[in-house]
C-alpha cells in the first residue's frame, strides 16, 4: 500500500512534468501545424543555459531562471522566424517543415554535446527538502512540479480565454485559413505561440535540471513524451495536453508496481497505440 502511494506521488509529479512539456509543444503544434521536433533539444538548451549561468557565470539561481526563460523564448521565436517561416512562405509541404525541424533537432543536440560534453550536469547550488506522507516520500521539487503545472496551466487558459491575442490563437487553432480571412495576422500569432511554448518549456527544463541533472539526450525523450501526451489527450486543447501528460506519468509509475522498471519507457507506446486504435481523436476531446 505504501509502495502504491509512493508510486502515485511520483506519477503525479512526473505527470505534471510531462504535462508542462505537452502544453508548450501542443500549443505550437495545434496553432501552427508544425511538428516542432527541435522543441526537445531547445528545452535541453535552456537547462544548460541555466546551469551555465549558475555554474560558470556565478549568477544567483533566480536570476539564472529568469534569464533561462527569456533565452528560451528568444531562441524559440528565432527557430520559427529563421527556420520554419521561410518554408511556410514557400508553401512547402508539411513533411518538409518536419524534416527541417528534425535537422535543427540534430544540430542543437550535438552542438550541446560538443560545447558541454556528454556527462550529466547537476546544480549542486540548489538544494531542496523532502517530506514524509506516511512511509512515502514527497520532495519539495515534486511539489514545485505540480505547482508549476497548476500556475502555468491556469495562466495559459486565462490568456487564451480572455485576451484578444488568446482569442486569435484559438481562432487559428480552429481554422488557420479562416483566421487569416477575418484579419488575424497568422505570422504574428505563430511567433507568439513559439515564444509562449518555448518559455513554458524552460520551466520543466530547470526543474528537471535540479532533480536529475542535464544531458544532451534529454531533449529526445522530452519531445517524444510531449508528442505522445498531446496525441493521447487530444490535439488542440490545453486540457487534453495536461490530462494526457498526467495520464502518461501515472500509467508509467503505477505500472512499475507490476512491470519491471526497464520497460517503463515502453508503456507510453502501448498507451499511444491503444488510443490510436480505440479513440483516434484523443481521450479527452470533444466531450
Amino acid at each position: 500500500m505504501d509502495l502504491l502511494l509512493q508510486l502515485a506521488i511520483n506519477g503525479i509529479a512526473n505527470g505534471s512534468h510531462y504535462a508542462l512539456l505537452a502544453i508548450g509543444f501542443g500549443l505550437i503544434f495545434a496553432t501552427t501545424g508544425i511538428v516542432h521536433f527541435a522543441y526537445g533539444p531547445l528545452y535541453a538548451l535552456s537547462a544548460y543555459f541555466v546551469w551555465m549561468s549558475v555554474a560558470w557565470l556565478g549568477l544567483p539561481f533566480v536570476a539564472a531562471l529568469v534569464a533561462g526563460v527569456a533565452a528560451s523564448t528568444v531562441v524559440g521565436m528565432l527557430a520559427y522566424l529563421w527556420l520554419h517561416r521561410p518554408f511556410e512562405r514557400n508553401q512547402s509541404p508539411a513533411f518538409v517543415v518536419m524534416i527541417v525541424s528534425l535537422g535543427l533537432f540534430i544540430v542543437v543536440e550535438n552542438g550541446i554535446g560538443i560545447v558541454f560534453g556528454t556527462d550529466t550536469k547537476v546544480l549542486e547550488e540548489v538544494t531542496y527538502g523532502i517530506h514524509f506522507v506516511g512511509d512515502a516520500v514527497i520532495s519539495e521539487l515534486q511539489i514545485a512540479q505540480v505547482v508549476a503545472l497548476v500556475l502555468i496551466g491556469a495562466a495559459l487558459a486565462l490568456f487564451l480565454k480572455l485576451t484578444n491575442y488568446g482569442k486569435a490563437v484559438r481562432a487559428m487553432t480552429d481554422n488557420p485559413d479562416m483566421a487569416a480571412v477575418i484579419g488575424i495576422d497568422t505570422v504574428r500569432i505563430s511567433v507568439l505561440v513559439f515564444a509562449i511554448g518555448s518559455a513554458i518549456a524552460a520551466i520543466p527544463a530547470v526543474l528537471v535540471l535540479i532533480k536529475d541533472g542535464a544531458t544532451p539526450a534529454m531533449g529526445f525523450s522530452a519531445v517524444f513524451v510531449a508528442f505522445v501526451a498531446v496525441i493521447v489527450g487530444g490535439l488542440g486543447s490545453i486540457r487534453g495536453a495536461i490530462l494526457g501528460g498526467l495520464l502518461l506519468g501515472m500509467v508509467e509509475n503505477l505500472g512499475m508496481w507490476k512491470i519491471p522498471t526497464e520497460w517503463q519507457s515502453s508503456i507510453a507506446f502501448v498507451v499511444l497505440f491503444l488510443v490510436l486504435l480505440l479513440r483516434p481523436n484523443g481521450l479527452f476531446k470533444g466531450q
Partner: protein, 563 residues
C-alpha cells in the same frame, strides 16, 4: 585498399537503406521515423535465426524481411487509417520501443552487449570473411533491392502512388484504396531495410543497438533528401556521397567523439540547406516520356467501355432523407434524390446550398448525419469512397484535382478499373499479366481521350493544358473509372460558349449510352439545353424538382434565384 573496399560495402548497405526509405518518403509522400528500427529488426532477427535456430543462408535474411514487413504493417495500420501526422508519432514510438526491447529482452537479444560472433556467410565453400569477399554479395543485394523498389515505382502501383502523392482525395475518387497503397509501400520499405540489417550482421559479425538509433534514420533521411525524393537513382547517389563524405572528415584532427557529433551536425545542416535551396535534390524527378501509343482507327469514336447494367429509365442512385450537419450548420437537410439511367439531372441553387455536400454524401466522402443512400437498390451506407467508385458511382471535383505533374495519358490510365498492377504482389509475381493488361489499358485510355477529343495531348503534362482541356481531362478521367453513375461538379463553368457547344454532345452521348449523369451547374442556359430534369436546392433542402422549363417558370424560384 581493403579500407576502400570496406567503404564500398557500406555504400551497398546504405543504397539499400536510402532507396527503401525513398519508397516511403518520396514515392508515397509519407514521413516515418522508424527506418533504423526496421534496419535493427532485420539485423537481430537474422542473427538470432542463424545462431539460435541454425538456419542456413539466405533463409534468416528472407524470414527476417517478412517478419520486419509484418511488424511495420501492424504498427502503421492504425495511424495510416487516420492519416495526418499520426504516422510520425507512431513510428517515433516504434523506434523507441524497438530499442527498449533490444536492450531489455536480454534472453532473446543479449541486451546492451549486443550479439557478437555472428558466423560469416559461406558460399560455395568460401567464407566471406573479408571486405573483398563480401563485396560481391553486398552488391548483389543492393542491386536486387534497388530492382524491387524500381520495379514498384515503374508499375501501375507506382503510378497510383504518384497520383496519391499529388492529390489523395482525387485518388480515392478514381477508386484507389489509399490505405492499402500506403500500407504496402510502408511494409515493403521496412522489409527491404531489414535486408541491409541482416547483411550488416553477417559482414561485421557483431551488432548492437548503438548502430540503430534515431540518428541513423536521420542519416538515411539526409541521403534521400540530398539525392532527391523524386527518384531512386538520387537516393543511391545520396548514399554514395554521404558514406564517403565522413571519410574526408578523418583528415581533420579531432577526438573521435567530437568528430561523430560534427558529422551529425553536418547532416542536420545538409537537410536544412538542401530543402531551402534545392528541395528537388541533386537528381530531380524526370517527367516520364509518353508511352508509344497504339494507333486508333479513324472515324466516329465509340462511347468507351460502357457496362450499363441498369436499363434506361430506371433509378440507379436513390437518396432518402439525407442530412449533413457541421456543428450547428445544416449543409444538407432532409434531401431526397433519385437519379435515373440514361438521363441527365441538373443540380442548381445558390452558392452554399449544399450541392457539393450532396455529392460528398452520395460518394461516401462524408458520412451523412441522417438518411440512406442506395445504388441499384442496395444500401451503400458506410462504404468507403473507393468502394463506391468500384461499385459504379463516381464523382469529379469543382476544383478539378487533376494530377498536374503526370501526363494526360497517365491521368486517364491511373483511373482505369481492375488493374492487377495496382496490387504489389501481382507486380512481382504476375509480371506478364500486368504487362499485357498495361498494353490493353493504354489502348483503352487512348480511346477515352479520343472520345473527349484530347488524344493529341496524351503525352503532355497535365499542367500544360488550357483551361478547357483541363475540363475535358476531368471528364475523361471520370469516364475511365467505367462507373455507371457519373456526378460532375461544375464541369462546364468558366468555358466559352463555342467550347460548350463542343462538349454538350459528350454528355448527350454518354446519357444515350445508358449512363446516369448528374451535373452541378449555375448557367441556366446550360441546364436548359443539357438536362432532362433538374433539382433546385436551397439551404440544404430540395425546393423544387421538375424539367428545367418548369423550374424556370416557377414564380417563387424566379424571385429567389433566376432574377
Amino acid at each position: 585498399m581493403e579500407y576502400l573496399i570496406h567503404i564500398l560495402v557500406m555504400m551497398c548497405l546504405y543504397v539499400i537503406l536510402s532507396t527503401s526509405f525513398n519508397l516511403v518518403v518520396g514515392s508515397a509522400g509519407l514521413f516515418a521515423l522508424s527506418h533504423a528500427a526496421f534496419y535493427a529488426i532485420g539485423a537481430y532477427a537474422s542473427a538470432i535465426l542463424i545462431i539460435d535456430v541454425g538456419l542456413p543462408f539466405p533463409l534468416p535474411l528472407l524470414i527476417g524481411a517478412l517478419f520486419t514487413a509484418a511488424i511495420g504493417a501492424v504498427a502503421a495500420l492504425p495511424a495510416l487509417r487516420i492519416g495526418g501526422h499520426y504516422l510520425v508519432i507512431v513510428t517515433l514510438a516504434l523506434q523507441v520501443i524497438v530499442l527498449a526491447f533490444l536492450i531489455n529482452a536480454q534472453a532473446i537479444t543479449r541486451g546492451p552487449a549486443g550479439i557478437s560472433g555472428i558466423p560469416r556467410v559461406e558460399l560455395f565453400g568460401l567464407a566471406l570473411d573479408s571486405p573483398q569477399r563480401f563485396l560481391p554479395l553486398a552488391a548483389f543485394f543492393a542491386a536486387f533491392c534497388f530492382w524491387i523498389a524500381w520495379r514498384l515505382t515503374e508499375s501501375p502501383f507506382g503510378r497510383a502512388l504518384r497520383a496519391m502523392r499529388e492529390d489523395e482525395e482525387a485518388t480515392k475518387a478514381i477508386g484507389k484504396n489509399v490505405v492499402y497503397m500506403k500500407l504496402s509501400a510502408f511494409a515493403l520499405s521496412a522489409g527491404l531495410a531489414s535486408v541491409a540489417g541482416a547483411l550488416l550482421g553477417r559482414y561485421v559479425s557483431f551488432i548492437s543497438v548503438e548502430s540503430f538509433t534515431i540518428e541513423e534514420t536521420i542519416y538515411v533521411l539526409a541521403m534521400v533528401i540530398l539525392g532527391g525524393t523524386g527518384n531512386l537513382w538520387g537516393s543511391a547517389l545520396g548514399a554514395v556521397i554521404l558514406v564517403s563524405l565522413p571519410e574526408l572528415l578523418k583528415f581533420v584532427e579531432m577526438p573521435a567523439e567530437i568528430a561523430d557529433k560534427v558529422r551529425q551536425i553536418l547532416y542536420g545542416i545538409l537537410l536544412i540547406v538542401m530543402l531551402r535551396l534545392r528541395p528537388e535534390g541533386l537528381i530531380a524527378e524526370v517527367s516520364r516520356a509518353a508511352q508509344r501509343l497504339a494507333p486508333v482507327p479513324a472515324g466516329e469514336v465509340p462511347v468507351p467501355a460502357i457496362a450499363a447494367a441498369t436499363p434506361a429509365g430506371e433509378i440507379t442512385v436513390s437518396g432518402r432523407g439525407l442530412s449533413k450537419h457541421f456543428g450547428g450548420i445544416r449543409a444538407v437537410e432532409d434531401f431526397d434524390i433519385d437519379l435515373t439511367a440514361g438521363t441527365i439531372t441538373g443540380l442548381i441553387g445558390p452558392n452554399g446550398a449544399g450541392k457539393t455536400t450532396a455529392f460528398n454524401l452520395i460518394t461516401g466522402f462524408l458520412p451523412p448525419t441522417a438518411g440512406t443512400i442506395s445504388f441499384r437498390g442496395r444500401s451503400v451506407a458506410g462504404r468507403k469512397p473507393h468502394e463506391i467508385v468500384r461499385a459504379g458511382v463516381a464523382r469529379s471535383f469543382q476544383d478539378l484535382k487533376l494530377f498536374t505533374k503526370m501526363t494526360v495519358l497517365d491521368n486517364v490510365l491511373v483511373a482505369l478499373p481492375r488493374q492487377s498492377g495496382d496490387g504489389v504482389l501481382s507486380v512481382f509475381f504476375r509480371p506478364f499479366r500486368v504487362r499485357a493488361e498495361e498494353t490493353a489499358n493504354i489502348a483503352r485510355a487512348v480511346e477515352v481521350l479520343r472520345f473527349v477529343g484530347l488524344e493529341d495531348k496524351a503525352g503532355e503534362t497535365a499542367d500544360n493544358l488550357s483551361y478547357a482541356e483541363e475540363k475535358l481531362l476531368v471528364i475523361a478521367r471520370l469516364l475511365a473509372t467505367e462507373a455507371e453513375v457519373l456526378l460532375f461538379d461544375e464541369p462546364l463553368s468558366g468555358l466559352a460558349p463555342t467550347t460548350l457547344e463542343e462538349i454538350f454532345p459528350v454528355f448527350r452521348r454518354l446519357a444515350a449510352a445508358g449512363k446516369t449523369i448528374c451535373i452541378i451547374e449555375h448557367n441556366l442556359d446550360v441546364i436548359k439545353r443539357l438536362c432532362d430534369t433538374a433539382i433546385y436546392l436551397d439551404e440544404g433542402r430540395a425546393l423544387r424538382k421538375g424539367t428545367p422549363e418548369e423550374l424556370m417558370n416557377d414564380p417563387e424560384l424566379a424571385g429567389r434565384y433566376f432574377s
